[in-house]
């Protein structure tokens, strides 16, 4: 099963957070893991709005060595030139406080980012179920 939530306006962030709650409930994630996933998803979906304008969020459960609840954030925005720098605490190019990416990374079990200038950005986060 997969869920897809488009992100284009502020209200979509509420929809993304609701969807996280639904999925977390389905897989009986702990309260703490649910709050962390919700917060991480809110930050990353907001990044789509702020930096790319529009994008898409995909929800799924993946089977690996351990089952994981995975969320993918995809956009066709300007992309990130220096990912290492973007993952440093305090770094920002937008109006944020620079806690977006590094802060979000700390909240989840798995964090992956693929991006290049002009190529858009894809961020994958996952939490063990």
């Amino acid at each position: 099963m997969i869920d897809i939530v488009p992100v284009a306006v502020e209200e979509d962030l509420v929809r993304v957070r609701q969807k996280v709650r639904q999925w977390a409930a389905t897989y009986a994630l702990s309260t703490l893991k649910t709050v962390k996933m919700q917060t991480a998803a809110s930050e990353l979906a907001r990044n789509i709005l702020v930096y790319a304008g529009t994008g898409t969020v995909f929800f799924s459960a993946i089977d690996g060595p351990r089952r994981e609840f995975q969320i993918i954030f995809e956009d066709q925005g300007p992309g990130i030139a220096d990912i290492e720098q973007a993952l440093q605490d305090g770094y920002t190019t937008g109006s944020g406080m620079g806690i977006g990416l590094p802060g979000t990374k700390r909240l989840v079990d798995h964090f992956e980012i693929v991006s290049a200038p002009g190529q858009g950005t894809r961020v994958i986060i996952a939490m063990r179920i």
Binding site: V14, V35, R46, G96
Partner: protein
């Protein structure tokens, strides 16, 4: 239009946030609280976020801004009722909540505001109730 209600109780404004707020609702709340502080000359603002199951950087920044705005208007803002999982998450996220007074619940926030002389001590009326 959707709005978060602000209750006036003596020198206090009590705001209970129960729903997942979209950004505009957050911005409106900020404006409504500062307007209410001016019109009611409130000395304390208590934001009960026990109904919030997530505080991201946007909402965190809003809490800080409300605290700073009301402070220059001579009113102290307390954030109360934060769920433990939310507290853990915002610390790991690295959200700076400096300058925001916090208390476990509404009662404790009121105690602190009284101790600081920001709001009046409990009136005798209540104590004599049922006499």
């Amino acid at each position: 239009m959707e709005r978060i209600p602000i209750l006036k109780i003596g020198d206090l404004l009590l705001v209970t946030i129960q729903l997942d707020m979209h950004d505009q609702l957050v911005m409106d709340l900020q404006k409504d609280i500062t307007n209410m502080v001016r019109t009611t000359e409130a000395k304390g603002v208590i934001l009960d976020i026990s109904g919030l199951d997530m505080v991201d950087s946007f909402i965190g920044r809003m809490l800080g801004t409300i605290a700073a705005m009301t402070a220059v208007m001579d009113a102290h803002t307390f954030v109360v009722g934060m769920q433990p999982a939310v507290a853990i998450t915002i610390v790991e996220l690295g959200l700076p909540l400096g300058g925001v007074h916090t208390a476990l619940n509404v009662e404790k926030a009121i105690e602190r505001l009284r101790a600081w002389g920001k709001i009046e001590a409990e009136s005798d009326d209540e104590a004599h109730e049922g006499d």
